[in-house]
Amino acid sequence: MTAVNTTVEAKSAPTRSWRRWAQRHGWTVGIWMLLVFLVVWYSTLIPRFGGFQFSTIINGGTAWIFLAAAQAVVVIAGGLDLGVGGLLVLTSATAAQFMDGQPLAVAVVMAVVILIGSAILNGIVGWVVAVSKVPDIVVTLGSLYIYQGLALMMLPKVGGGSSDGFRWLFTGSATGIGTNPWPAVVMITVPIAVAAWWMGRTPSGLSLYAVGSDETAAFLSGVNAVRTKIVSYAVAGAFVAIAGFSTLAIAGVGNATTEGGTLTLNSVAAVVLGGVVLTGGAGSLVAVVPAALILFFFNPILSALGVNPNQAQVIQGVLLVFVMAIAGLIELRRRRRS
């Protein structure tokens, strides 16, 4: 009886569930609101805001979103993948090598093959992390270099290309520049929604949270921790492949000299901003999506404000830490109160 009293507080059920919803999803709502605010603000800063500007943001943000989602899946399962940036370069270079000038059907088959290959490759990295007991930071730092090197072997010089139909899928235009954001919106929404549902509702998806939250308890609950870690890295690999395709679709040519390390760090920043706990076990892809877009969006906003690009980076860094400090304070207050 005493135990029941301590869990069920004397508040009416709807109030309780609403408060709980707000508590659990407050960060997600807040980050979406911040994104909307930034878009509205941006639209007042530039002379004209229409379909072109909108699709530029969505199209350019696609790679950021999938890279951040990849990182989020690994971090939620208690890991960290520094290799994602390198894998993006590798997958886009591979796609550029094999898709150039192909009809859409062939390009799509290629994409599926590359996506599966990327998942397997990164799954192997996950296996090494899970079995070797070498810290994930070390293993994935290694995989970053390996991916980057493989990309250069695949595509030594800037070149290759994508197919027109494939470019339309990610940019709404065969040239990569257009005013139609909807294909990209669908390409983002469907995979993210499926993954978010899987992670929140199914035993295998919830296992990611379980292993990230308390590996011992997860094991005692019958969760296979090694398999779960491998799965988290493999799913990340698949997401990174999509990010790679999007990058290629926008640029139109493959470029294996892109710095993967910087891309990785962006993904970590987006994951943090998206409210995913770096120690694992908590967070949601639904909040990582706007976080990635916001980070992508910093530069256009600052340039619209007329900020010197050199100062822009400093401001970006200060803002990131500032936002996270505010979040930390909110969390601290919440804990004090409960």
Binding site: T2, L220, N224
Partner: protein, 502 residues
């Protein structure tokens, strides 16, 4: 020594052995659990009970030995295999994921709410909100949910490792009901508890482990606690432990009534709706006991005193000075130190015993680089004084629970303090170590410090304390001299009922 042979053997092992590196946990264990019996697994801390449970439930692989279930040999590769073989376990450590809701935890185990609902109803937890995150649910409730989850697998053998340690007496009774029902269905229960009274009340037979071997198999009918203790500890240690009493403890410090001796004065303390006007005084040389059922404000009281939370209103005075602690750091500087209920909150599990003991000294300016002179000696003398088993000295996390608890106590002996706050310092600890801790607390008091000790085990109150306070619903409802405090009186008060005496 022989087991009743009327029943068929459900689970039996032969020569199970397990080592962690150089530390041998199990040397050779033969145990046989028959169908339709409640089987106690007994032994002091470090005897190997938890290791055996983890091997029987597939968590660890054994190094040697064999295991048969219903006559056929099995080789469990993981907890999932054990469930499939008809063994479900409630482990000593919670096996629920803190960051997920109860519903999501069930999903992970492949269960639906309807699978556990009837069992939760039996535990009177039918109204439990399954959308709550596990981290926001009290430990006692989680233990029962863990049990319901194990029962939902409909096991032939139910293994319960220290499930009652965190439960209230009524909750314990409900667990016993379930165990009896399992027995009626001709299934079995393997029950581990440090509370021998419980064991004698519910169990049919017992296997006793000592130093990683099964040293005795007993039929428990007609056995009393003294005989059990003898078997568990071996003859000579048992005499020692049975003789823990006020007489054996060092002479208590002279408790006088002068106001000067009051070292801690708490006046009308309030904290949200958890603590409603608590006042008491604690004198030098005194051990003041606090007892209560689960969740009556005792943990909040200790966290206020240790500076972890700030009271809504009311005053805490230490040595005549008002305590206005913003964090435990401030409380510690005033000499108010805490041994928390959960040892893991206090220890640095990967560091050595010496480092753990020396942590309170690290904050002193000038000690940043090394311990100087006498401090190193103080650490050494505490290790000796506490009789800490130093086989795993390089990593506190590898010590047994009892030795870990000694380290959490010992670190305050290394530094100085006015008032020692101990929250259930003997939970889940074997008798022998308990006795050592009682003696240590009495010594601390005799040396002039004051001790405030919460205990969930009513029997230890008269053994250790001078006075006792009973809390109920956030208030102190009963106070008396601890020497005359019987279990009945304390239990009545703890349930918020007026006893004849009070």
């Amino acid at each position: 020594m022989t087991l009743p042979t009327a029943h068929q053997s459900l689970l039996s092992t032969e020569g199970i052995a397990k080592s962690y590196g150089s530390i041998v946990a199990l040397r050779s264990v033969d145990i046989s659990v028959a169908s339709g019996e409640i089987h106690a697994l007994l032994g002091a801390n470090g005897a190997g009970k938890s290791t055996l449970v983890k091997i029987l439930s597939g968590v660890f692989d054994s190094d040697a030995g064999s295991m048969t279930i219903s006559g056929s040999a099995v080789n469990l590769k993981g907890p999932g295999d054990a469930t499939d073989a008809g063994i479900a376990t409630v482990f000593q450590d919670p096996a629920l994921i803190p960051d997920l809701s109860l519903d999501q935890n069930l999903t992970i185990s492949g269960l639906r709410h309807s699978d556990v609902a009837p069992w939760l109803e039996r535990m009177q937890l039918a109204e439990l909100d399954f959308g709550l995150l596990v981290r926001d649910i009290p430990l006692a409730t989680l233990r029962l949910v863990d049990l319901a989850r194990a029962l939902a697998h409909d096991p032939q053998l139910l293994m319960l490792d220290e499930i009652t340690a965190a439960l209230t007496p009524e909750q314990t009774d409900r667990v016993f009901d379930v165990m009896r029902e399992w027995k009626r269905m001709n299934r079995s229960v393997l029950f581990i508890s440090h509370r021998l009274g419980e064991v004698l009340k519910i169990c049919d037979v017992a296997t006793i482990l000592r130093n990683g071997r099964d040293v005795a198999h007993l039929d428990l009918t007609g056995v009393d606690e003294a005989e059990l203790v003898t078997s568990m500890l071996g003859a000579e240690l048992a005499r020692e432990s049975m003789s823990i009493s006020r007489d054996a403890a060092p002479v208590q410090g002279a408790v006088t009534d002068t106001d000067n001796d009051v070292v801690l004065r708490v006046t009308d303390l309030q904290y949200r709706d958890k603590i409603n006007g608590v006042s008491f005084e604690l004198r030098r040389g005194e051990i003041l006991g606090v007892t209560a059922l689960e969740g009556q404000g005792q943990s909040e009281l200790f966290s206020l005193l240790s500076g972890d939370h700030r009271p809504t209103s009311g005053e805490i005075e230490i040595s005549g000075e008002r305590l206005s602690a913003r964090s435990p750091y401030d409380a510690i500087r005033k000499g108010l130190v805490l041994v928390p209920g959960n040892r893991h909150e206090a220890l640095l599990p990967q560091r050595s015993i010496r480092e753990n003991l020396a942590t309170p000294l690290y904050n002193r300016i000038g000690r940043w680089f090394s311990l100087v002179g006498d401090e190193s000696e103080r650490v050494d003398s505490v290790v000796t004084r506490l009789d800490i088993d130093t086989r795993a000295a390089s990593q506190v996390g590898r010590l047994s629970g009892g030795n870990q608890q000694k380290v959490t106590l010992g670190r305050w002996l290394v530094s100085d303090f006015e008032v020692l706050l101990c929250f259930d310092p003997t939970r889940g600890i074997d008798i022998q170590t308990k006795a050592q801790i009682y003696e240590l607390l009495r010594e601390i008091a005799a040396e002039g410090a004051a001790v405030l000790m919460y205990s969930s085990e009513l029997r230890e109150i008269p053994l250790v304390c001078d006075r006792v306070l009973v809390m109920y619903g956030g208030s102190i409802v009963h106070e008396q001299d601890a020497g005359t405090a019987t279990e009945e009186v304390l239990l009545t008060a703890a349930h918020g009922l007026k006893s004849a005496q009070a």
